[in-house]
C-alpha cells in the first residue's frame, strides 16, 4: 500500500457554488447584475487557465492508536484527539496533498499591485476552492479501489492546523508526499508555498 501516487494534472471543473459561497454570496440575499455575473465568470475562467492542479497521495497502515496518538510506519506519528476520534475505526490513513501551482499566486500578486483587488479576490477564491476540490477528486479516485477492497474512506478529512492537529505536522505530510516535486516549499513556520497548496488526512475503514 505504501507507494506514493502522484497526479501530474488533476482536471476538474471550478466548483462554482463553493467559489460564490467563499466570496460571500448568499442565495436569496445577494443581488448580482448580469454584467457582474459575467465578470465573475471571466475571473473564474482566468483562474482556471492559470491553475495547474497537481497532487500526491499515500496510503499508510496505522500501526497502533489510542485516544490521542496515531502511530504510522517508520516511527511517524500524528498527535490529535480530534483526529484520533475520526480514525477510531480506521486501519489505514490516506495522506493527500495538492497544489494549484505558482502561476495563479503570481497573477493575484500582479492584480493586487495593479489595484485590481476585485479580480485578485476572485482568483484567490477560485484557487482555494479548486485546490480543495482536488482533494475531493483524490478521495473519489481512491474510493473506487477501496470499494472493491471492501473498504471506504472516512466521511470527513482533517488538515494540519485545524482542531488540535498542530500545523507542525505539515512537515511530515510534506516529506511523505514529496510535495517538493511540484515546486511546493515549506516555510520555517510550516506554511506551504505557493499559498494555494493544501494537505489532508482521511481514514480508511473496513466495511462490513
Amino acid at each position: 500500500m505504501d507507494r506514493l501516487i502522484t497526479f501530474e494534472r488533476i482536471t476538474i471543473e471550478p466548483p462554482l457554488e463553493a467559489i460564490y459561497r467563499r466570496l460571500g454570496f448568499r442565495k436569496g440575499l445577494t443581488k448580482i447584475k448580469p454584467d457582474e455575473t459575467r465578470a465573475l465568470g471571466e475571473g473564474i475562467e482566468k483562474a482556471r487557465s492559470l491553475i495547474t492542479l497537481k497532487g500526491a497521495a499515500r496510503r499508510l497502515p496505522i500501526l497502533s492508536k489510542d485516544s490521542r496518538l496515531i502511530r504510522l510506519p517508520e516511527s511517524h506519528c500524528l498527535e490529535s484527539t480530534h483526529l484520533a476520534k475520526l480514525l477510531a475505526d480506521s486501519q489505514e490513513v490516506l495522506l493527500m496533498g495538492a497544489t494549484a501551482g505558482a502561476a495563479v499566486i503570481e497573477a493575484i500578486r500582479r492584480d493586487t499591485a495593479a489595484d485590481k483587488l476585485s479580480q485578485a479576490v476572485v482568483l484567490d477564491a477560485a484557487a482555494s476552492e479548486m485546490v480543495d476540490a482536488a482533494l475531493d477528486w483524490m478521495e473519489a479516485f481512491f474510493a473506487q479501489d477501496l470499494r472493491r477492497e471492501s473498504r471506504r474512506l472516512t466521511k470527513s478529512r482533517f488538515s494540519c492546523g485545524y482542531g488540535d492537529l498542530a500545523l507542525e505536522n505539515q512537515k511530515l505530510f510534506y516529506d511523505l508526499l514529496d510535495l517538493g516535486r511540484f515546486g511546493v516549499e515549506l516555510t520555517e513556520r510550516y506554511i506551504l508555498a505557493p499559498e494555494k497548496s493544501v494537505t489532508a488526512v482521511a481514514g480508511i475503514e473496513t466495511t462490513g
Partner: protein
C-alpha cells in the same frame, strides 16, 4: 477482424451479448475476508471463484471475466507478489476449467491504481509493459477475449489496449467509468473515449461501474451516433447506500433487468452488471433481453479527432476549424532556444494563447536542426496534452517523431502530413493505422508538386488507394489543397481553390490549407490571408492552418461559418462578437440622474470606468469637492459596507465599489482644500512575520483608504521589530495586524508586547482566518471579522 469477433457479432444479430456481474461482492458473500488481495485469495481458494464463474454461466452470461482485475504488478506488489504473469495464467486456467466452454472467458484487465504519463508519474512504456505481463499470462491461461475495464484515465486505457493489440489479435472490449456528470474522474467524456479507443483498435467500447443503468443511458446515447463498433453498458445495481457498516445497492434483480430496454434503445449491444449485481441480476437481465435485437453500429468510419478531454468532429455543417500554427520553430528564435534546452514552457503558453484565441486544433512542430526530434516531440506532446484541451496535429518531415508522438498522445491525433512520396507512404501509413490517427493527405510525389488541381486529384486517388490497404477510408484524412505563393505564381491560389472544391464536391473528402503561404512576400499579408480564407471556405474548406491571434482572420472565419450555413442561429458569431466587444459596455452611467447622484450610483455599482469622469462632471456643475467627498462619496461607500453586512453584496461587489471609490477620490484629491486623509487619521497595517497570506489585509487597506484614512501598508511577512520601528516613524492612530495560520498568529502577541515594551500606546486591531475575538482580547487587541468591521472598529477607536 479480431479473432473471436464473429461469435460476438452473431449473438448481437439476435439479442444483446451478456457479460457477467460483480465478482468482488460475490466473493465476500462466499467467505473472502475484507482487506485481502482478491486475486491471491482466489488462487488459494479456487473452488470459490470457480463457483462464482459457474453461477454466472448458469445465469446465461455469454462472457465471464477472469478474476484478474487487480492482477497487475503494481497492485500485486502491494501484497508482496512479484509474478503477475503467473497469477494471471493461474486465474485464467481456473476460469476455463470452471466454465468448460459454457461461456467465453474474458481476460480482465483493471486499472493499476496509478496515473500514467502525462497525467501521473508512471512512464507510459512501464504501464504498457505491466499490462503485457497480464496479457501474456491470460493468453497462457487460454482466454477467449480481453476486457479492459473500470478505466478513469484514458491514457491508462490506451496503454492496456496497446499492450493487448501488440501481443495478440483477440476481440478486446474497453469500458471506462464515467461519473454522474458524464466525465471520467480525469475529465474524459463518453464521445471522446469512444473516438480515441475505437481509432486505436478497440472492438467494443462502453462504460461500467460508478453509476446505475439510468445514468448510463445518457453515456451510451452520446456515443451511439459516432460508434462504428458495438457499445457496452455494464452498470452497478443502482446507486450505493450505506446501511450500517455495509454498502448496498438499491436495485433488485427485476428492477435492474427492467432498465435493459432503455440501454438497448440508447444503442448498447453488450450488457452486463457491475458492483452490487449478482447471478440473479444477470439471469433476470438475460431473460428480459432474450428477444430484444440491438441496433448495429450506425457507421463504418468517423472523421473526428480527440484530446484527452475533447472531440472535434469533422461532420457536415460544422464550423471551419482553425489549426493554430504558432508551435513551430521556423522563424521563432525563442521557441528554437527552448526546444534546444528541452523546455516546454513557451510552447504551453502558445497553446493556451491559441486556444483562447479560438483555435480548434494545434499544430506541433519541433523541427530544429541538431536536436533529438523524437525526444523533443514526445516531451512537447506530453506537456501539451495537459496544457490544452485541443487535439493536436503532429507535424514533422520525419516518420520517427510522428510515431513517438502518436504512441504517447492520449487522444486521436492528426498527422501533418502523408504525401505520395514512396518512403513516406511506406513508413507512415502503417504507423497511422496502428495508432488510428487521421492524416493530412498531401498530394505531391517524389516528382514534386503537381501544378493543377486535376493532376493533384490523380495523386490524391493514388494515395487513397494505398491508404485503403491499411483500412483507411475517406473519413480518415483531409486533402491538402497545397497553397503556393501568389507573389511568385498568380495562378497558384486558383489551383488551390479548385483542388479544395474538387476534393469537397467530387471526391467527398475533407480539406485543409496552410493559409499564410499564399501571402508570402506581399505587404499587408493579413488581408490576402483573410480573403483567401473566405474564398476557400466558400469552396468547402474544412480546416486552415493559420494564426488564430489575427483578429481579422477570426472575424472572417466566423463570418464565413455564418454565411456557409456552418453556424446555426449564428450563435458562434454572436459569441465571437460579444467577446471581441469585451468590456465596452461596462460602466455606462445612468443618464437621467444629476451628476452627484451618478457618482453615488457609480460607487454603488462598482463602475470603475466611469467614476473619474463623473467626479469631474460633478465639480464642473459647481458642487464643492469636500461636500462631494463628505456628503456623497463616503456615505455611498458606507452604504456599500452596510449592504455587504446584510449579504446583499458579496466580496467582489464590495471590492469593486472600493476600487471605484479609490479612483473617484484620486480624481477629487487635487480639488480638496486641506488633507482629508490627515483629518481622519493614519493606520498602519501588516501581515505578521512568517505569514504569506495577505489578501484579507489588502482588502482592509482598500476599505480604510476609501473611508478617508491614510494607510501605511507594510506588506506581508513583516517582523515585529520592523512594525514597531514603523509605528515610531509614522505615529499611527491604530495598528492593524493579520495572520492566517495558527503558527503565525502568535506573532501578533510578540508585536504588541514589543510595542508596549518600547512605550507605544497605540491600539491594535487584529484579524485573519484563525484569529478569534477571545484571542484578540487575550493579547490586548481589538478584533475585526472583515474589512467592513475593521473600518467600524477603527472609527470607534479613533473617536
Amino acid at each position: 477482424m479480431a479473432k473471436g469477433q464473429r461469435i460476438f457479432l452473431d449473438i448481437m444479430k439476435k439479442r444483446p451479448l451478456i457479460l457477467d456481474g460483480a465478482t468482488g461482492t460475490e466473493l465476500q458473500k462466499r467467505g473472502m475476508p475484507a482487506g485481502v488481495c482478491p486475486e491471491l485469495w482466489c488462487i488459494e481458494n479456487p473452488s470459490v471463484i470457480a463457483s462464482v464463474h459457474s453461477d454466472y454461466a448458469r445465469a446465461g452470461c455469454d462472457v465471464v471475466y477472469t478474476c484478474t482485475f487487480g492482477a497487475n504488478r503494481f497492485k500485486l506488489g502491494q501484497y508482496g507478489e512479484p509474478d503477475a504473469r503467473s497469477v494471471n495464467r493461474r486465474l485464467a486456467l481456473i476460469a476455463r476449467e470452471a466454465l468448460r466452454g459454457k461461456a467465453l472467458v474474458a481476460g480482465d484487465i483493471g486499472p493499476t491504481g496509478h496515473f500514467i504519463q502525462p497525467f501521473g508519474e508512471v512512464d507510459f512504456e512501464e504501464a504498457v509493459a505491466a499490462f503485457k505481463e497480464q496479457v501474456l499470462g491470460l493468453l497462457e491461461g487460454g482466454v477467449d477475449c480481453f476486457v479492459i475495464e473500470t478505466m478513469m484515465d484514458i491514457q491508462e486505457a490506451r496503454a492496456a489496449l496497446i499492450a493487448v493489440k501488440e501481443t495478440c489479435d483477440l476481440f478486446t472490449m474497453v469500458t471506462m467509468t464515467f461519473e454522474r456528470d458524464g466525465r471520467t474522474l480525469n475529465g474524459t467524456d463518453p464521445l471522446t473515449a469512444l473516438t480515441t479507443l475505437q481509432a486505436l483498435g478497440a472492438d467494443a467500447v462502453g462504460c461500467n461501474c460508478s453509476t446505475g443503468p439510468d445514468d448510463m443511458v445518457r453515456f451510451i446515447e452520446a456515443m451511439k451516433p459516432y460508434a462504428k463498433i458495438p457499445l457496452i453498458a455494464k452498470p452497478n445495481a443502482g446507486l450505493p447506500k450505506t446501511v450500517g457498516d455495509t454498502t448496498v445497492y438499491d436495485m433488485d434483480a427485476a428492477e435492474f433487468a427492467s432498465r435493459a430496454g432503455a440501454l438497448i434503445a440508447a444503442g448498447a449491444g453488450i450488457l452486463g452488471g457491475c458492483c452490487g449485481t449478482t447471478p440473479g441480476h444477470l439471469a433476470a437481465l438475460r431473460k428480459t433481453v432474450a428477444r430484444k435485437k440491438p441496433a448495429p453500429p450506425l457507421r463504418k468510419s468517423l472523421a473526428a479527432l480527440s484530446s484527452a478531454r475533447k472531440t472535434l468532429l469533422f461532420e457536415p455543417g460544422r464550423p471551419l476549424a482553425v489549426i493554430g500554427e504558432s508551435i513551430n520553430p521556423t522563424g521563432r528564435k525563442a521557441l528554437q532556444e527552448e526546444l534546444r534546452e528541452g523546455k516546454t514552457a513557451l510552447a504551453r503558453q502558445m497553446a493556451r494563447d491559441q486556444e483562447m484565441a479560438g483555435a480548434a486544433l494545434l499544430d506541433v512542430n519541433v523541427g530544429v536542426p541538431g536536436i533529438d526530434q523524437e525526444k523533443a516531440m514526445q516531451e512537447i506532446v506530453l506537456a501539451l496534452s495537459i496544457a490544452t484541451e485541443l487535439p493536436l496535429v503532429i507535424d514533422s518531415a520525419k516518420a520517427e517523431p510522428i510515431e513517438r508522438a502518436l504512441r504517447v498522445y492520449p487522444g486521436r491525433a492528426l498527422i501533418n502530413s502523408i504525401s505520395g512520396e514512396r518512403e513516406k507512404l511506406r513508413k507512415l501509413l502503417p504507423v497511422a493505422a496502428k495508432y488510428g490517427a487521421m492524416f493530412i493527405l498531401l498530394p505531391l510525389t517524389d516528382k514534386g508538386i503537381p501544378e493543377t488541381a486535376e493532376k493533384r486529384a490523380v495523386v490524391v486517388r493514388a494515395i487513397e488507394q494505398e491508404a485503403r490497404k491499411h483500412g483507411f477510408t475517406r473519413d480518415d484524412f483531409l486533402v491538402d489543397g497545397i497553397v503556393m505563393t501568389a507573389a511568385s505564381n498568380p495562378k497558384a491560389p486558383q489551383e488551390t481553390i479548385r483542388t479544395v472544391r474538387w476534393a469537397t464536391e467530387t471526391f467527398g473528402a475533407r480539406t485543409v490549407v496552410g493559409l499564410s503561404n499564399v501571402s508570402f512576400g506581399m505587404p499587408e499579408r493579413k488581408w490576402i490571408n483573410t480573403s483567401f480564407l473566405a474564398m476557400a471556405a466558400a469552396s468547402g474548406l474544412t480546416a486552415a492552418i493559420a494564426n488564430p491571434a489575427s483578429e481579422e482572420l477570426m472575424f472572417v472565419k466566423n463570418a464565413s461559418d455564418v454565411l456557409g450555413g456552418r453556424d446555426r442561429d449564428a450563435a458562434a458569431w454572436i459569441a465571437h462578437c460579444a467577446k471581441a466587444a469585451g468590456s465596452a459596455k461596462k460602466g455606462a452611467p445612468i443618464e437621467t440622474l444629476p451628476p452627484e447622484r451618478k457618482v453615488r450610483q457609480a460607487i454603488l455599482d462598482g463602475n470603475r470606468e466611469a467614476v473619474a469622469g463623473l467626479v469631474g462632471e460633478t465639480l464642473k456643475a459647481g458642487l464643492d469637492a469636500a461636500k462631494l467627498a463628505q456628503e456623497i462619496m463616503i456615505p455611498a461607500i458606507v452604504e456599500v459596507g452596510e449592504r455587504f453586512g446584510r449579504k446583499e453584496y458579496f466580496l467582489p461587489q464590495l471590492i469593486a465599489s472600493g476600487e471605484t471609490m479609490k479612483i473617484g477620490m484620486e480624481a477629487l484629491e487635487p480639488f480638496l482644500k486641506g488633507d482629508l486623509k490627515a483629518q481622519r487619521g493614519t493606520i498602519l497595517i501588516a501581515t505578521v512575520k512568517g505569514d504569506i497570506h495577505d489578501i484579507g489585509k489588502n482588502i482592509v487597506a482598500l476599505m480604510l483608504r476609501n473611508h478617508g484614512f491614510q494607510v501605511v501598508d507594510l506588506g506581508k511577512d513583516v517582523a515585529a521589530e520592523r512594525i514597531v520601528r514603523e509605528i515610531d516613524r509614522h505615529r499611527p492612530q491604530v495598528v492593524g495586524l493579520s495572520a492566517l495560520m495558527t503558527t503565525t498568529m502568535t506573532q501578533m502577541k510578540e508585536v504588541i508586547a514589543l510595542a508596549r515594551k518600547q512605550g507605544e500606546q497605540c491600539p491594535f486591531v487584529v484579524g485573519g482566518a484563525v484569529v478569534t475575538k477571545a484571542y484578540a482580547e487575550s493579547i490586548g487587541a481589538e478584533y475585526a471579522r472583515d474589512g467592513v468591521e475593521a473600518v467600524q472598529v477603527i472609527q470607534r477607536l479613533i473617536r
